[in-house]
Symmetry: C2
Subunit: 414 residues, 2 copies
């Protein structure tokens, strides 16, 4: 396939889409949502092909479930698109406008990024999610899904494009990379002429590959080695609630906790309590020497374990001498995603919040809250773990750039 | 030299500097400024070495002037550092704080980027400029200047480090790459573990090399192929003032104009007028066919000319049929830096401002205004021509990232 042509078309379409007004974009989004909902049978048929192939290849039940579409799930996808239509449009807005000393009136206006490339894994709902968020923010999108969901993704984009073709926006504003080979993916990662930013969505390995290979600017997302630190001044009931929530509510997601740090003064009393609570979820504990001596059942943690996002019912446990040791441990091993302290001590929480380096830091709340919907953005294209451009949950605002618009009256520079 | 050690030290120092309060940073900046001003003789002596070597190598008078330091210029550098101390500190500020539906209190706080690498050419004043802006915004900096200014840069950093060593901030917060070889520069561009962002400052070739070579995220700066479009409804006296200012006031800078686009309805009357005005500055005109027939003296413009940042007394000239042809030409050939329209027509100016894709777009003002000082930022580390993170003039705010600070009361996610 000709990725250059696809890129060129996306760039052209981005320009047109970028100039499209909000009511038109919203109307089209609702049309697209109706089209997805209305073609459920077609989508289910194609999804069956992906499922059949996956079963043949002996894929795990968890992965099968991620891949599976149902009537209900498709309607949810359409509903998600309608919700994006309801969100405020950032494009064209300016948070400030000022007059400078030369009398120029200067506004910093939000504009689309241009063309966004999304490289993602199995779940077909990312197709409509990403397409609608990029569309609403005036960006063309180039979607490259995994080969497991090839038929599902393909039919979804076909439906979107067929509907788009009936509107004023070129159908190439939503593009699909139908060749799922590694070579084409790599070519896409180097398509600097046509792609303005690349957002990988998926497991740690996918993200690492994109960061290492891409020359197009990347927004790194989703790697989450998150910690909960139980301070000596913690309310232990609250600590248990938070740890169980952070570890067990959904262990596979990036804002789940992977390591428990506990102050030495409360370790002897508290570790047996939290061990019992974690036992109900069959959580495996990997402990440092001091924690291991207190816990009934644990295996010794390796240096590697402190770096690991288990994404499973496994928790590393370490006893620390002080708040600062906890902070240092986190800043050394974390992926700068989400970190929490449980403490009643005002100064301990302030110090933790200011000194821990992460996209989101919590005092007395679960790390699981790091999420665009929870934060009130109404949407989420991913959670950035880098410092450039956007950090933490990314909604529509994070899919924009800016430009300075300057109104003069004939001024020249002295 | 061991770039990894240097990077590691910078990272450690960035953490300390990032936690330093504003009054302390300001006090240290004033100390650093005094140290630079107080060591003028030492600096001049080292600068003489660079000048002598440059003369030996037959460097141009313009380049020699860029390299030359004087008592006055050194005092200006120190004064520039004092002005940075006077600027508001973005670090720690939050533009908003809100309570979400779970009752969490969420603030988006500005934090330093971490370690900033600056790769720059001849002018030694970049050393103190960049060092003070990075310092004020809580970032460690790794400075890699050109070999022409080696002795000047070296002594400047030595003075800064010696002074820093007397303070609470580690002296390694300002680092100097003393090996000016290409190999070490390339190694620096790939020092992802320790450098958070790389900002090249210099000519187009330097910037292209950095963008092509770096794996560290780069903020692309300074390439400026800027246009002035004279609409059919333009005030011609105003157009002349703006064109002369944009082309001739300082042709070597990135916000100078390189191409004049003129509406066909005013071309026959106006081109002779602007030609006469440009003649006084000996500006060479490179014209398309229609403009060439009207101008008294011009050479035919090549396709390459439309893409070129001449940085000299050369101006490409093209007659266009319409506003939209001007917009299309600009969007095709520009470097997305600064673009201007001269017109009395309200709808023409609005259309130009909205549809031209650039960091800064002007109605009835010179492109020369794109500048952090002019915009009121009080400083400038460069002018970004990319869409990610920062676009246009970058001041202290653009040297920051953010983190979400979340105050809970024991909340867990449902």
């Amino acid at each position: 396939m000709d990725l250059n042509l696809l890129g060129k078309q996306a760039q052209f379409s981005a320009y047109e889409l970028g100039q499209t007004d909000t009511p038109t974009k919203n109307r089209i989004l609702l049309q697209l949502a109706d089209a997805v909902a209305g073609h459920r049978n077609e989508i289910l048929k194609e999804n069956q092909k992906d499922l059949a192939k996956a079963k043949e290849e002996g894929i795990s039940e968890v992965m099968l479930d991620r891949l599976r579409l149902t009537d209900e799930r498709i309607l949810e996808m359409a509903e998600g698109m309608r919700k994006v239509a309801d969100l405020p449009d950032p494009i064209g807005t300016s948070e400030k406008m000022w007059r400078n000393e030369d009398g120029l009136l200067i506004a910093k206006q939000k504009v689309p990024l241009g063309v966004i490339g999304i490289i993602y894994e199995s779940r077909p709902n990312v197709t409509t999610d990403a397409a609608s968020l990029c569309f609403k923010s005036g960006n063309a999108v180039i979607l490259r899904g995994g080969k497991e969901a090839y038929h599902s993704n393909q039919v979804l984009v076909e439906i979107l494009q067929t509907e788009l073709a009936k509107t004023s926006v070129p159908k190439e504003a939503i593009q699909f990379v139908s060749d799922t080979s590694r070579e084409v993916a790599q070519q896409m990662m180097r398509l600097n002429e046509y792609i303005d930013v690349l957002i990988p969505r998926g497991g740690a390995r996918l993200i690492e590959t994109v960061v290492a290979t891409a020359t197009v600017p990347v927004i790194e997302t989703g790697k989450g080695n998150c910690h909960v630190y139980v301070d000596k001044a913690a309310q232990l009931k609250m600590a248990t609630d938070i740890i169980i929530n952070a570890k067990c509510q959904r262990p596979s997601v990036c804002n789940a906790a992977e390591t428990l740090l506990i102050h030495k003064e409360v370790a002897a009393n508290y570790l047996p309590v939290i061990e019992a609570a974690l036992n109900e979820y069959n959580v495996e504990l990997r402990a440092d020497e001091r924690a291991g001596k207190i816990l009934k059942q644990s295996i010794p943690a390796t240096e590697e374990d402190w770096y690991t996002e288990f994404s499973d019912y496994i928790l590393a446990v370490k006893v620390v001498d002080s708040l600062d040791e906890a902070i240092d441990h986190i800043n050394k091993y974390n992926t700068k995603h989400s970190e929490a302290i449980v403490s009643d001590d005002y100064f301990a929480t302030q110090r933790f919040l200011q000194r821990v380096d992460a996209a989101a830091v919590y005092a007395n709340a679960s790390t699981r809250f790091t999420d665009g919907f929870v934060y009130g953005f109404g949407a989420e294209i991913g959670i950035s773990t880098q410092k450039l451009h956007a950090r933490g949950p990314m909604g529509l605002n994070e899919l924009t750039s800016t430009k300075y618009i300057v109104y003069g009256e004939g001024q020249i520079r002295q």
